[in-house]
Amino acid sequence: MRETYGVVLPGMNLEDLSGKLIVIEGTDGVGRSTQIDLLKPWLEQQGRAVVDTGLTRSALAGKGIKQAKEGHTLGPLTLSLFYTADFADRLEREIVPALRAGFVVLTDRYIYSPMARAMLRSIDVGWLRNAYSFALKPDAVFYLRIGVDDLIPRVVFSRGFDYWESGMDLHPSEDMYDSFRKYQTALLARFDELSAEYQFDVVDASADVDTIFRQLRDGIARVLSGEPREPLFGVAGSKEGSEEAAAKKPAEMPASKGAGSEDGDSKKPQERTATQT
């Protein structure tokens, strides 16, 4: 039977949710939606019915969040609760019915992105864990991990800097570039913490689109074949954590990709290789 991270919502039956819940996580501009656009037709070719969903797309609160963000007047707690309401609406009205009908639910971010953002805005992580504790545990979380140096050119050359993605509410005196760099660096650190806690499958997102797609495809194929939830590409996070995981069952790794230029990027693959051999 499926589990939640804590409380079960009234009227939510966790039995017979036979579909698969697959999360693509990652920071702004890392290429999540590009990958989802590739994964959906691929899954459908396999004969799998897919529902794709994402943050702030709920019928109830999605529009309200967008409007409120345009005014830039939301306090951090209000924004955080708004996201939680949006998530609850999608969970109850979209995700759970699709899982009950046996669909593959491919979600562009889940509870982790809003958690990471709220943590940067001084919201207590314990409070966040409780607020989101009604969330279903997914079958897999693929985290598209990137260093800030690889991220910046992608964002600049595609859509430019966005107010919220640059954390301008946190550093209003900075220019967008400086603020973006500072904010995303801090955000990626929070993601790494969450990655260790919630055991994300980490995908090196500095690679090209095809390489990332192949890794995601293989990872998802394994989830769909019903193999137990195990780290596929290694779990980022504390050294003890990864050694422990390796001791239980050596994780299968694809050939190590060239490490990114950022400190965090070059460290993690070494750890993984060390524990593997």
């Binding site: 919502l9 109830l60 306090g75 707690l77 209000t78 001084s122 504790s133």
Partner: protein
């Protein structure tokens, strides 16, 4: 992030709670008049009044889109907006803030709708602890009598129609409010709530309130000296 009971502000926060028909809004209005006349900087804040979230809540209610979870979270969002942008700044500035319904309304309603009591309490743990919370205790039948004729029927969520307690909206309201009273009674010792006997004459209740409020106003700012 400051939790319930950890805030230290020069202002004062007085809250009234109770079911519809308990007379709490009338009492708060009278308290408001008196505090103004006494020269305090006093501001009134109503449940469900954040301009930001109000439209979504209204639409959700009109279309019956809300489940126990989204009902709870949308109200928490509304409350957080009022807390962050209105109540906390006012308390920092030394105002006397009056709230018609507070987190206890959410605790009662959400728990009756099946939400986990601990989850809801933690969700609202960012709220400022009131200086005094008044609970207007009234038998259900007395409250129902006061409401009849006074208004044009109950609304869907107000009567707990989403819970399927009864097909009849008046009956549903009665059963739902009965459960709400049970939740309030549990909270009286838990949150050190001051109980007012809401069957007493209006002026007697008001005199009790003023006495308690006065004893807490030592440091609150007066805008001018009372005449």
């Amino acid at each position: 992030m400051k939790r319930y009971g950890e805030h230290r502000f020069p202002g004062k926060l007085f809250v009234v709670e109770g079911i519809d028909g308990s007379g709490k809004s009338t009492q708060l209005m009278l308290l408001h008049q008196w505090l103004k006349a006494e020269g305090y900087g006093v501001v009134f804040s109503e449940w469900n009044s954040s301009p930001l979230v109000r439209d979504i809540t209204k639409r959700g209610k009109r279309k019956h889109m809300l489940t126990a979870a989204t009902f709870s979270l949308i109200h928490a969002t509304d409350f957080a907006d009022r807390m962050e942008r209105n109540i906390i700044p006012l308390l920092k500035a030394g105002a006397v803030v009056l709230c018609d319904r507070y987190i206890f309304t959410a605790f009662a309603r959400d728990v009756v709708r099946g939400m986990d009591p601990k989850w809801v309490r933690e969700l609202y743990s960012f709220a400022v602890k009131p200086t005094v919370t008044f609970y207007f205790r009234v038998p259900l039948e007395v409250a129902m009598k006061r409401l009849i004729g006074g208004r044009n029927g109950f609304k869907f969520y107000e009567a707990g129609m989403d819970l399927g307690l009864s097909e009849d909206i008046d009956e549903s309201f009665r059963v739902f409010q009965g459960h709400i009273i049970e939740e309030y009674e549990k909270m009286v010792p838990e949150f050190e709530i001051s109980v007012v006997d809401a069957t007493l004459p209006i002026e007697v209740e008001q005199a009790q309130m003023r006495q308690l409020v006065k004893s807490k106003l030592a440091q609150a700012k007066r805008l001018r000296v009372a005449p």
